[in-house]
C-alpha cells in the first residue's frame, strides 16, 4: 500500500491542502457547541442580548468558514485521487503491454482485468477517503474529547466508560462479520456456477429431460446462500443499535449527573448542553473511523495485487520499441539449433528437447503430432514469444534475440489456435496488423482467406461491427478473418496453428490452395491435427514428446514412420475396429 502512495507524490501540493482544509472545517465544527454554551450561560443566563447576537453571528461566520474548508478539502482530495489513479492505471497498462507471453501465462486475464478496473478504483476511493476522513475522524475525535474535558471535566468519566464500549463493539463487528462475508461470496459463487452451467448446457439438460434435477440442485445452492446471507446481516443488525444505545445512555448519564451538578451549583446549564454535544460528536467520529478501517483493509488487498503486477520482471525484452518498417525484411529461413524449451511454472517439464530443424525460405512445412507433443510451442519460438531454455532459434541466419521486434514480427503472420478478434468492424480487424492498408488489400486478403463471400453477406459488409471477441460469427468464420488478418501484412513467414479446425473440409481445401498460390515465395508453417490438412506440404515434420520423430513428405512418412501411420489411421478410423 505504501509503495503505491508514491503515485500521490507528484500531487503533493493538493494532497497537503486537503487535510489542512479539513482541519479548518473540523475546528469550526468544534467551535459550535462552545459558542452555544456561551449563548446559554452568558447570553441567556446573564440576560445579555448583545452576547446572544454576536455569538450567533460568530456561529454563522464559523459555519461559512467551515464549509469553505469542507468543500475545499473535497475538491483537492478528489482531484488528487483521480490524478494518482489515472497515473497508476496508465502505468499498469503500460506494464501489462510489456509482459511477455510467459508472464501472461502465469496471470489469468480475468485477474488482470479486475486489477486494472476494480482495484484501481478501490485505490482511488481509498486515497480520496484517506485525504478527507483520515484527518477528519481522528481530529474530530481528539478535538471533541479535548473540548468535552475542558467544558466539564467532572463528567469526563462518562466518556471513559462509553468510549471503550463502542470501540469494542466496532472491532467485534469487524472480526465477526468480515469472515462471514467471505463465506457469503463463496456461496454466491456456487449459485452462479450452477446458473452458468445451466446456461451453457441447456441443450443437454433438455435432451436428457433433467430440468427438475437442475432445479433441485439450484434450489439447494440458493437456500445455502440465503441462510448465510441472513446470518451475516442479522449480526450486523445487532451491533448498530447497540452502538446507538451506548450513545444515548451517555446522554442520559450527562443529563442525570450533569443535572445534579447544576442543581448543586457546580455546573452551568450551558456546560451540560455543550458537553453532550461534544459527546455525540466524539462517538460519531468513532463510527467514522470504524468505516475507514473496513475500507482500508479492502484497499490494502487491492494494493497488493497491483504491486505484484508492477513489480513483475518481464522475462523477455518486450520494450515498446520504435523499430521501423524499413528494417531489413525477414526473408523466411528458419532454423532451430538444438532447441529445448519448457514453460515456467510447469515444474520445468520439458516441452521441446533437442530440436534441430531447418526450414528453407519459401518452403511449406507441415507439423503434426499427438496432443502435447510441442507443436504450438515450437512455432511460438519463431516470433520470439518465448525464449528457448537452450539452443538458438535463427531467422535468416540471425538469432531472433538480435532482431528488432518490429522487423521480426512485422515479417511473420501468425494465426493462433484460439481466434481472438476485437470489437471493431470487420475491416478494422483485418487491418489490425497494418492500419494503413488499402481497401483493395483488405479485400484481397479476405478473398484468399475464403472470407470475402460471407463478409459480403453480413448486414454491413466490411463495416459490420463485431461484438466482443467476434461472437456473432461462427467459429469457422472467425478463423478465416484471423487468417485474412495475418495475410494482409504480406508476411514472409506465415504460421498457421491449427487455424482451420472449425472450417469444413471443402472450404478448408480451397483455403489451402489459395494460400499456397499467394504464399509461393514465403515460408509457410502449418500445424494441424488432421493429416489431411498438411498432406500436400513439401515436407511434414512429426513431433512426439517434444522431439522430432520424423520428417519427409506424406508418402514417405506413411511408409517409414509408425507414429505418422498411427495418427493417419485413427483419423480415418480404418484399423482396429474388430477389437473389443
Amino acid at each position: 500500500m505504501f509503495k503505491l502512495l508514491s503515485y500521490v507524490k507528484p500531487y503533493w501540493k493538493t494532497a497537503l491542502l486537503a487535510p489542512l482544509l479539513m482541519a479548518l472545517e473540523v475546528t469550526m465544527d468544534l467551535l459550535q457547541p462552545r459558542l452555544v454554551q456561551r449563548i446559554i450561560d452568558v447570553g441567556i443566563g446573564e440576560m445579555k442580548m448583545d452576547v446572544v447576537f454576536t455569538t450567533g453571528g460568530l456561529m454563522i461566520g464559523a459555519a461559512f468558514v467551515g464549509v469553505v474548508g469542507g468543500v475545499g478539502c473535497s475538491v483537492f482530495a478528489i482531484a488528487t485521487s483521480r490524478n494518482a489513479g489515472a497515473d497508476l492505471r496508465g502505468r499498469l497498462f503500460e506494464k501489462i503491454q510489456q509482459l511477455s507471453f510467459g508472464n501472461l501465462d502465469e496471470m489469468e486475464s480475468g485477474n488482470l482485468i479486475t486489477v486494472l478496473t476494480s482495484d484501481v478504483n478501490i485505490y482511488q476511493r481509498a486515497v480520496a477517503m484517506g485525504l478527507r476522513i483520515l484527518v477528519r475522524g481522528p481530529l474530530l475525535m481528539i478535538g471533541s474529547l479535548t473540548m468535552a474535558l475542558i467544558t466539564a471535566p467532572g463528567l469526563s468519566w462518562i466518556i471513559l466508560v462509553a468510549l471503550p464500549l463502542v470501540i469494542f463493539l466496532l472491532l467485534f463487528l469487524n472480526r465477526k462479520v468480515a469472515p462471514l462475508f467471505r463465506t457469503v461470496q463463496e456461496k454466491l459463487d456456487k449459485v452462479n456456477t450452477v446458473m452458468r452451467e445451466n446456461l451453457s448446457g441447456i441443450r443437454v439438460i433438455k435432451s436428457f429431460v433433467r430440468s427438475d434435477y437442475e432445479i433441485d440442485r439450484f434450489g439447494e445452492a440458493n437456500r445455502d446462500y440465503m441462510a448465510i446471507n441472513r446470518k451475516a446481516r442479522r449480526i450486523m443488525g445487532v451491533v448498530m443499535p447497540l452502538v446507538g444505545l451506548i450513545l444515548n445512555m451517555g446522554i442520559v448519564a450527562v443529563i442525570w449527573f450533569g443535572g445534579r451538578g447544576v442543581v448543586a451549583g457546580g455546573y452551568r446549564l450551558g456546560q451540560i448542553v455543550a458537553f453532550y454535544n461534544y459527546l455525540l460528536r466524539l462517538l460519531g467520529s468513532l463510527t467514522m473511523i470504524g468505516m475507514i478501517l473496513i475500507n482500508l483493509s479492502r484497499a490494502v488487498a487491492s494494493a497488493e495485487r497491483m504491486a505484484e503486477i508492477l513489480e513483475k520482471e518481464p522475462d523477455l525484452e518486450e520494450a515498446i520499441e520504435e523499430g521501423s518498417k524499413d528494417d531489413p525484411q525477414v526473408k523466411g529461413q528458419i532454423e532451430f539449433q538444438d532447441v529445448s524449451f519448457s514453460y515456467r511454472g510447469d515444474g520445468g517439464k520439458p516441452v521441446l528437447e533437442g530440436i534441430d530443424l531447418t526450414v528453407r525460405a519459401g518452403e511449406t512445412v507441415g507439423i503434426v503430432g499427438p496432443t502435447g507433443s510441442g507443436k504450438s510451442s515450437l512455432v511460438y519460438l519463431i516470433p520470439r514469444l518465448y525464449d528457448p531454455t537452450a539452443g538458438r532459434v535463427l531467422v535468416d541466419g540471425k538469432d531472433v534475440r538480435k532482431i528488432s521486434k518490429k522487423a521480426l514480427r512485422g515479417g511473420i503472420g501468425f494465426v493462433m489456435q484460439e481466434t481472438i478478434l476485437f470489437a471493431r468492424t470487420v475491416r478494422e480487424n483485418i487491418r489490425f496488423g497494418k492500419p494503413a492498408a488499402s481497401e483493395e488489400e483488405v479485400r484481397q486478403a479476405a478473398q484468399i482467406a475464403q472470407a470475402h463471400q460471407f463478409i459480403k453477406e453480413l448486414p454491413a459488409g466490411y463495416d459490420t461491427s463485431l461484438g466482443q471477441r467476434g461472437i456473432n460469427l461462427s467459429g469457422g468464420q472467425k478463423q478465416r478473418l484471423a487468417i485474412a488478418r495475418a495475410l494482409l501484412i504480406n508476411p514472409d513467414i506465415l504460421i498457421l496453428d491449427d487455424s482451420a479446425s472449425a472450417v469444413d473440409m471443402k472450404t478448408e481445401s480451397q483455403l489451402m490452395k489459395a494460400i499456397k498460390a499467394v504464399e509461393r515465395d514465403s515460408t509457410t508453417v502449418i500445424i494441424a491435427q488432421k493429416i489431411s490438412t498438411v498432406k500436400d506440404a513439401e515436407r511434414i515434420v512429426v513431433l512426439e514428446d517434444g522431439r522430432v520423430a520424423g520428417q519427409g513428405n506424406h508418402s514417405q512418412l506413411l511408409r517409414d514412420n509408425e507414429i505418422y501411420r498411427e495418427i493417419y489411421a485413427s483419423q480415418r478410423g480404418g484399423e482396429g475396429d474388430n477389437d473389443e
Partner: protein
C-alpha cells in the same frame, strides 16, 4: 449439436445478436440502466412477491414507527429534563425523567433490532423466491432464447440485478420509512414545543431542497458521463488484455497504449467532476445544519431572554436540527438506489415473462418402448421468417439403423437433429417416431427416448458418478460402472484421485477433452435410449484416446437407431444409410458404395478429403 452451426444458418445475413429491449442491454459494464422504463410496473411486481410476507411487513412497519417515535422522544424528554427539573432543582423529578429516557432509548434500540431482524428474513426469503422463479423459467425457455443472447448478459441479470434488489429490500425500504417518519416527526415535535422557533428554523428547509435539486441535477449528468467513460475504458481494457497476445503478434502495443491514454484521460476528468459534485452534498448540508444551529441558538437565545422560550427548548431544538439533516440526505440518495433497483427488477421480470418453449399439445400422450423407427416426411423449416433452412426433407430410418449425415458446414445437419428432439417445431410436413407424429407425443417422454452425445459435452460440478448417472437417475452404482466400462472410461476414472467420487470442477474442466467425451458416452450408454444422436466433430484429442472414443461410440450405436453427424470416414463407410445434405436439402441418399458409384456431390466431397483411400490398405 454445434451451436455455431445452427447460429449461422439462418443468421448469416443477420449477424447481430438480438438483445432484449430495455436499458442497459449491451455495453454497460456491471451497471445496468439507471432508470426503469415502467417504474410502477416493476414496483408492483416486486410487491407481488412481498405480499406473501405481508404479515411480517406490517409488523415491521409498526416496529419502525415505534423505533422512530422513540428516537424522536429523546430530545423532547431531554428538553423537559432541563426545563422542568434541572432548572427547578427537582432532583427527584430529574431521576424519574432520566429513567424514562433510559426506557425510551432501550425500547427504541430493541425495536430497531427487531425490525432489522425480521426485515432481513423477509428480504432474503423474497430474493430466494425471485432467484428460484428466474431459474425455473430459464428451464422452460426455448433454445433460441439462449442462442440469441450473450451468456454474459444473462448472467448479469441473474446476478447483478438480483443483488441490487437485495440491497434495496434489506435496507432501503426501512430506511425510507424511518427517514420519512423522522422528518415528519421532527417537524411535528418542533412545532409542538415552540411553533415560533420552529417556523424560523424550518426556513432553512427550502434552502436545503433548492441546493439538493441543483446539485443533484449536475451530479446526475456528471455521473452518466462518468459511467459512459468508464464503460468505454473498461471495455478497452478487457479487450486489450484478452487479446494481448494478438496485440503483441501484430506489434500494436503503441496504438493500444494511445487509445488507452485517451480514454484514461477522459475518465479522469469526468470522474473528478462527478466526484467533486457528489461530495458537495455533504459539506453543503453541513453548512445548512450549522446555519440552523446558529439560528436556533441566536433566535432561541433572543426568545429566551425575552422569556418566550426556555433553555430546554433550545437544547431540544439543537438536537432536532441534528436529527433533521441526516434523513433528508438519505432520502435523496435512496431515490437513486431504489430507481436502479427497479430498473434491475424490470430486466429480471422481462425474462420471467418470456414465452416458454414448445408446450405439449392437448391430447399429447407419452410413448414407451420405442422401437426406433424415424420418418421425416416433407419437412420444411426455418429459424426466421423467409430464411428456409430445410426444404422438403424426407427419409426413413429403420430401428437399429445407423444413419450418417454428411454435408458442408451449415447445410442443415444439426437442424435435422434439433427438430427430431423437438427443440423447434417444423413449418411443413411431419416427423414420425414409430409411426406416431411427434407432435402427438409428450415432449418429455419423447426426449427421454433420445440420447445425445455432442462435441460440447455438458458435464457439471458434481462427482464423476453423478455425471454419468445423469443419464438415468435411478441407476445403481454397478450399472454406472458397467456403462463406464463399456465406454472405455472406467480405466482412466480409476486413475483419478478419488475414482468415481472425484469432484469435477465447473463444466468438468479438470478432465481433458477426450476424457470428457468418454464420460458423456458412458452417460448416454446408461440412458440406453432407443434413438441416439451423435455429433462426431473431432477435437484435439490424442491418438490413444481417439481410438477409445471411436470404439466406445461404435458400441454405443449398436442396436439403436443412430443419427450421426459424421466426420470419420470409417463411420460413414459403415453407415446403413448416408444422407448427403446440402443447402437444406437431401441431395443424395444411399450407402457409401452406392454413392461413390453415382459420382455426384458425395463423390466430390469424399475425394477432396481422402485422396489416398487405398494407400492405407497395403
Amino acid at each position: 449439436m454445434n451451436k455455431r452451426d445452427r447460429n449461422t444458418k439462418g443468421k448469416e445475413s443477420k449477424s447481430q445478436t438480438r438483445r432484449l429491449p430495455g436499458p442497459g442491454g449491451g455495453r454497460h459494464r456491471g451497471l445496468g440502466g439507471e432508470r426503469a422504463e415502467d417504474t410502477k410496473g416493476a414496483f408492483n411486481r416486486i410487491w407481488n412477491y412481498l405480499r406473501k410476507e405481508s404479515r411480517s411487513i406490517t409488523l415491521v412497519f409498526f416496529l419502525v414507527i415505534g423505533a422512530t417515535t422513540c428516537n424522536l422522544l429523546g430530545p423532547f424528554l431531554m428538553g423537559r429534563a432541563i426545563d422542568s427539573f434541572i432548572a427547578r432543582g427537582d432532583i427527584a423529578g430529574l431521576a424519574r425523567m432520566a429513567l424514562l429516557m433510559v426506557s425510551v432509548y432501550l425500547g427504541g434500540s430493541f425495536l430497531n433490532w427487531l425490525q432489522t431482524f425480521i426485515m432481513v428474513g423477509v428480504s432474503q426469503r423474497t430474493l430466494r423466491e425471485i432467484r428460484s422463479d428466474l431459474f425455473r423459467k430459464l428451464q422452460e425457455l426455448s433454445l433460441s432464447f439462449f442462442d440469441e443472447r450473450p451468456h454474459g448478459e444473462l448472467m448479469s441479470r441473474m446476478t447483478n440485478d438480483v443483488e441490487t434488489i437485495n440491497l434495496t429490500l434489506t435496507q432501503s425500504v426501512t430506511q425510507l420509512i424511518s427517514s420519512l417518519l423522522t422528518v415528519l416527526g421532527v417537524v411535528a415535535m418542533m412545532l409542538v414545543i415552540n411553533y415560533k422557533l420552529a417556523l424560523v428554523t424550518l426556513l432553512t428547509v427550502p434552502l436545503v431542497a433548492l441546493i439538493a435539486r441543483y446539485v443533484a441535477r449536475y451530479t446526475r449528468k456528471a455521473f452518466s458521463e462518468q459511467q459512459r467513460n468508464i464503460g468505454d475504458l473498461n471495455g478497452l481494457i478487457e479487450e486489450t488484455i484478452t487479446g494481448q497476445r494478438v496485440v503483441k503478434l501484430f506489434c500494436r502495443e503503441r496504438e493500444m497504449l494511445e487509445r488507452f491514454e485517451q480514454r484514461n484521460e477522459d475518465y479522469r476528468t469526468s470522474s473528478t467532476r462527478a466526484g467533486v459534485l457528489a461530495s458537495l452534498m455533504g459539506p453543503l448540508m453541513g453548512l445548512v445544519n450549522n446555519l440552523s444551529f446558529a439560528v436556533v441558538a441566536g433566535v432561541g437565545g433572543w426568545m429566551a431572554v425575552g422569556g418566550v422560550a426556555t433553555v430546554g427548548t433550545i437544547a431540544a431544538f439543537l438536537n432536532y436540527t441534528r436529527q433533521f439533516g441526516h434523513p433528508l440526505n438519505r432520502l435523496a440518495s435512496l431515490y437513486n438506489t431504489v430507481q436502479s433497483a427497479l430498473a434491475g427488477a424490470e430486466r429480471i421480470f422481462e425474462i420471467i415473462d418470456q414465452e416458454p418453449e414448445l408446450q405439449d399439445e392437448p391430447g399429447a400422450e407419452p410413448i414407451e418402448k420405442v422401437k426406433g423407427e424415424v420418418t421425416f416426411a416433407g419437412v420444411d423449416f426455418s429459424y426466421e421468417e423467409g430464411v428456409p433452412v430445410l426444404k422438403n426433407v424426407s427419409f426413413r430410418a429403420e430401428p437399429g439403423e445407423m444413419v450418417a449425415l454428411v454435408g458442408p458446414t451449415g447445410a442443415g445437419k444439426t437442424t435435422i437433429v434439433n427438430l427430431l428432439t423437438r427443440f423447434y417445431d417444423i413449418d411443413e410436413g411431419a416427423i414420425y417416431v414409430d409411426g406416431k407424429d411427434i407432435r402427438e407425443i409428450e415432449i418429455d417422454s419423447l426426449r427421454s427416448q433420445l440420447g445425445i452425445v455432442l462435441q460440447d459435452t455438458y458435464l457439471f460440478s458434481g462427482t464423476v458418478e453423478e455425471n454419468i448417472r445423469f443419464g438415468r437417475l435411478a441407476a445403481r452404482k454397478e450399472e454406472v460402472e458397467e456403462a463406464a466400462k463399456k465406454a472405455n472410461a472406467d480405466r482412466f476414472i480409476r486413475h483419478l484421485p478419488r475414482t468415481y467420487e472425484t469432484e469435477l470442477s465447473e463444466e468438468g474442466a479438470n478432465l481433458s477433452q477426450g476424457q470428457r467425451q468418454l464420460i458423456s458416452i458412458a452417460r448416454a450408454l446408461l440412458a440406453d435410449p432407443a434413438i441416439l444422436i451423435l455429433d462426431e466433430a473431432t477435437s484435439s484429442v490424442d491418438t490413444r484416446t481417439e481410438i477409445h472414443i471411436q470404439k466406445a461410440m461404435k458400441k454405443l450405436m449398436k442396436g439403436r437407431t443412430s443419427f450421426v453427424i459424421a466426420h470419420r470416414l470409417d463411420t460413414i463407410r459403415n453407415a446403413d444409410k448416408i444422407l448427403v445434405i446440402k443447402g437444406g436439402e437431401i441431395v443424395e441418399t444411399g450407402t457409401h458404395g452406392e454413392l461413390l458409384a453415382k459420382e455426384g456431390f458425395y463423390h466430390e466431397l469424399h475425394n477432396s478429403r481422402f485422396q489416398d483411400a487405398d494407400v492405407i490398405n497395403q
